[in-house]
């Protein structure tokens, strides 16, 4: 590199006004171990004249002491263990600048064992440079790193195919690698902005164009980096403001936190989720020593602020603040794609603590849907997720959580899981197949007072000769719920019971005719049936409900509505048995793809945890099933 161009890169960076700040872009360098990440960084620093005085000589001395050839990796591998073993253990950062802007370069270890450190580095970046060895081609970590970048939400990716000197700068071999890796990235939804043939050791296409590859017409690595944009604060999105803490300073009650998305202003009505309380912003608090500086009237994404409210509502850390329109999802169950970093594997059924924004809550791994092989994107099933694996899982909380889907609001749609004391994994949220339960738990009625009945339950039970209540049948389509319900209804009626069956298809003709089969409407369907069944029960009758009701949250809500005398009855038969029966021909349609989200085939069935009764229709004959149910009712509904 000529003296003149070196000076240009380095010195033109100095702004004419020293007090002004410059743009900063954070770039992570990732890729398979030994594909030349550190060498590329060293070369970039050398060729832009960014090395501190004496650094080159000191690296040289370190190498000579160890009797190894000059090694650029020593620039960032600061630990003795790293230098002695010639391997990057932990992520590091280093700074340089071009005409365009300042850079933080984040070096991430390429060794599989240090994936947690790679993620630590990569998650801080605005853009990524992925290095592939031209001689070795695309390797395991090349793919895994590409996959994780996508999962971490990094959308600006350039690929450098390094060590081109080892393959005599041949275009054909470069083209093959480019095609293979582009295909992979495309399949996971990433479009690399540039794929650049380079030799870090020789300095080709890092800072300077090279004559060795005149066939390449694209930008150098540094030019490619200059074309990336710093991550812009999402100010135009719906407001997401997680409450970080509540302070009492100088007689003010200040709600403190950082706005993650959107903006708010004084006078706005804010909604706190999941407590579902509302209040208006009275002031935005601000400390400054500049005399006469007025507190701000609005604040937006990226700002750490404090606000006071017009009403003293009780809110605490963990609430997610939004405007009433564009509120976050409320749910106690969701799907997630996770990467696992724990020393112990993640196990189905085990509880962990989730940290979602500032919220912390216990969650249980309800199911592990699949383990994803990041090399070929194939899925396998397993009951546990090993360290460094990627998986699709379903998590369940004991209470409602306020969250978003990652795709619509990344910062409130991602989380980490804590196992004992350690961050053991991270994940992004999808609600595919699961309902936003906000509407189900939101009461929009105001000014309502309960009227006390003149007749109590006992009086009704004495008149009827039995207690009222709910028999809630749940199970797969074809498990025999309706057949059993109708047979039981007949038997009980003959014995003098006031009994009535609420059946899925029947209520959809009337009460629930306005509901579709979307997750939200299915949940609303069950909520209404739960409330109606509860009314029947309180009226002194026995309501038998016959609904698949696949979600635990929905059944738990029905139980809550039903009051004391609610009986969850799992009408059980495995999918194969149900499919063989297929009374309505639905399984056939589902297999043919004509019905999507069909429970047991393409949508989940969450088995009851502790049902009052299990009736196994695959093993036991119908008559005997009815007999058992009659006995059960006679005991449980006795006056």
């Amino acid at each position: 590199m000529s003296e003149a161009s070196e000076a240009k890169v380095r010195l033109a960076a100095v702004n004419s006004n020293p007090a002004s700040t410059r743009d900063l872009l954070r770039i992570v360098i990732v890729g398979h171990v030994d594909h030349g990440k550190s060498t590329l960084v060293g070369r970039m620093f050398h060729d832009t004249g960014s090395l501190p005085d004496g650094k080159y000589e000191s690296i040289k001395a370190m190498c000579e002491r160890r009797g190894v050839p000059f090694e650029w990796a020593f620039l960032m591998d600061a630990l003795q263990a790293e230098r002695d073993q010639g391997i990057t253990i932990d992520t590091s950062q280093i700074w340089f600048k071009t005409d365009a802007r300042d850079y933080t370069i984040i070096d991430a270890p390429g060794h599989k064992e240090f994936l947690k450190n790679m993620i630590t580095g990569a998650a801080q970046s605005d853009a990524a440079l992925l290095i592939i060895d031209a001689a070795e081609g695309v390797r395991e970590q090349s793919r895994r790193h590409g996959y994780l970048l996508h999962l971490l939400g990094i959308r600006q990716v350039a690929v450098a195919v390094n060590k081109m000197d080892l393959i005599n700068y041949e275009k054909d071999q470069f083209d093959l690698i480019e095609q293979e890796y582009r295909d992979y990235l495309t399949s996971i939804g990433v479009t690399p902005t540039f794929v650049i043939p380079v030799s870090a050791r020789q300095g080709d296409n890092i800072v300077n164009q090279t004559n060795a590859m005149s066939w390449y017409k694209g930008p150098t690595v540094v030019k490619a980096l200059d074309s990336f944009m710093p991550t812009a604060a999402p100010v135009d999105r719906p407001l997401r403001f997680p409450v970080q803490d509540v302070y009492k300073f100088d007689h003010r009650r200040i709600i403190a936190g950082r706005i993650e998305e959107g903006s708010l202003k004084v006078g706005d009505t804010l909604l706190f989720s999941p407590s579902n309380k509302s209040a208006r912003v009275q002031s935005i608090e601000y400390w400054s020593t500049v005399p006469g500086k007025k507190p701000p009237m609005e604040a937006s994404a990226g700002e750490s602020i404090g606000i006071t409210l017009d009403e003293q509502i009780f809110v605490e850390r963990g609430e997610l603040v939004s405007h009433a329109e564009h509120a976050p999802i409320e749910t106690d169950v969701f799907r997630a794609r996770i990467f696992w970093l724990g020393h112990e594997p993640m196990v189905k059924g085990k509880s962990y603590r989730i940290k979602l924004g500032t919220l912390e809550a216990p969650v249980t791994v309800q199911s592990i849907e699949s383990i994803i092989d990041t090399s070929d994107l194939s899925n396998t099933s397993s009951h546990q997720v090993e360290r460094n694996q990627v998986a699709e899982i379903v998590l369940r909380a004991r209470r409602m959580l306020a969250l978003d889907e990652f795709i619509s609001a990344p910062k409130s749609g991602r989380f980490v899981l804590i196992d004992k004391y350690d961050i053991a994994g991270g994940g992004i949220i999808s609600m595919e197949g699961y309902a936003d339960q906000r509407d189900l738990i939101t009461s929009r009625s105001t000014n309502i007072t309960r009227v006390v009945h003149g007749i109590d339950e006992t009086a009704r039970a004495f008149r009827n000769g039995h207690k009222g209540g709910v028999l809630w049948f749940t199970g797969l389509s074809g498990a025999g719920k309706s057949t059993l319900a109708v047979a039981l209804e007949k038997k009980l009626f003959e014995k003098g019971y006031n009994v009535y069956v609420l059946d899925g298809d029947n209520v959809r003709h009337g009460l629930n005719a306005n509901l579709s089969f979307s997750p939200e409407d299915r949940a609303e369907n069950i909520r209404r049936v739960g409330e109606v069944a509860a009314l029947f029960g309180r009226a002194g009758m026995i309501a038998i409900t016959s609904f698949i009701s696949p979600y635990r949250s929905d059944r738990d809500r029905a139980r809550e509505a039903g009051g004391g005398n609610f009986h969850e009855i799992h009408v059980k038969a495995d999918v194969a048995t149900c499919e063989a029966r297929d009374p309505k021909g639905l399984y056939k349609k589902a297999r043919a793809g004509e019905i999507k989200d069909f429970t047991g085939i393409s949508a989940p069935y969450e088995e009851p945890d502790n049902p009052e009764l299990v009736i196994d229709t695959a093993e036991v004959q119908l008559d005997e099933c009815v007999e058992r149910l009659v006995n059960y009712v006679e005991t449980k509904f006795k006056v």
Binding site: A81, Q93, Q244, A256, R258, Y286, T289, S304, R414, Y421
Partner: protein, 264 residues
């Protein structure tokens, strides 16, 4: 938001996380430019207050200008100020090179102070761009019972989710300035008009870029006599910030050893 606003917001976020999650926390005040910015940021985070003790672990060998500065601003900023002394040189690892051994006094003083006050965590104003092992630090950095840093197995830290759960006996260092650079510190000091010790400004062609003990800190050649001139100088210099700090340079691993043992 410009870059300084972003840096400020991130530091405030870190302060508030730590203050919420960890009991018995204090801030280390070395009296230098970085820890003055750190105090300033705490006041931003807590609306003019510093709601935890601010501790100077004193080697007794600082410059007089530093002590003057400390006494004045501890009062003016309304700090809950604690001063602790470092033990004599004889108590340090004798295999360390001389300047590193002198610096190790501070590590010992720190350990004693932590024990005496029962602090679970300390805010420290280190930055990644100062030195290569600091570049590998976490924002929330756990230490063992005796303050040692297990740099080979640090916790993952991403999406601003910090490790805030620890077995009893763990000590935590929290680094609210880790993501700042030397130029950022001066830009912010200028913008916020934060008081500065005069030793940073050039006198007779020399100034201090980094302040430590009198006997192991030396000035660099410079003509920068205002903050603006310092910023301009830093944007073109190729001399590293800690070049005047003797303990960094005595041997290849001297500083790593100091840090592994609990030095900042």
């Amino acid at each position: 938001m410009d870059r300084l606003d972003q840096l400020e917001s991130q530091s405030i976020f870190i302060f508030r996380e730590a203050f919420n999650r960890i009991e018995n926390i204090a801030m280390l005040w070395s009296l230098g430019k970085d820890s003055n910015v750190m105090i300033w940021l705490a006041r931003k985070a807590f609306f003019g207050h510093v709601p935890f003790p601010v501790m100077h672990v004193d080697t007794g060998k600082k410059f007089p200008e530093m002590y003057d500065f400390r006494d004045r601003y501890a009062a003016e900023w309304g700090l809950n100020f604690i001063r602790e002394e470092c033990p004599p040189l004889e108590m340090t690892d004798e295999t360390l090179p001389p300047a590193a051994r002198s610096a190790a006094r501070k590590t010992e003083g720190l350990k004693l102070a932590i024990k005496k006050h029962g602090f679970n965590a300390l805010f420290a104003g280190i930055r990644r761009d100062e030195e290569a092992t600091r570049a590998k630090e976490r924002v929330f950095s756990p230490r063992g019972q005796t303050g040692q840093w297990d740099f080979k197995d640090q916790p993952p830290e991403f999406w601003d989710q910090f490790k805030t759960d620890f077995p009893p006996g763990t000590h935590i260092r929290i680094h609210p300035l880790l993501h700042w650079t030397e130029v950022d510190i001066w830009l912010y000091t200028l913008r916020e008009q934060i008081p500065t010790i005069p030793l940073y400004f050039a006198k007779d062609g020399k100034r201090y870029r980094s302040l430590g003990d009198k006997d192991i800190t030396s000035p660099v050649a410079s003509t920068a006599s205002t903050i603006e001139e310092i910023i301009e100088e830093l944007r073109t210099t190729k001399i590293s910030e800690r070049s005047g700090r003797a303990m960094d340079h005595e041997s290849e691993d001297a500083f790593e050893r100091l840090r592994a043992d609990g030095y900042l």
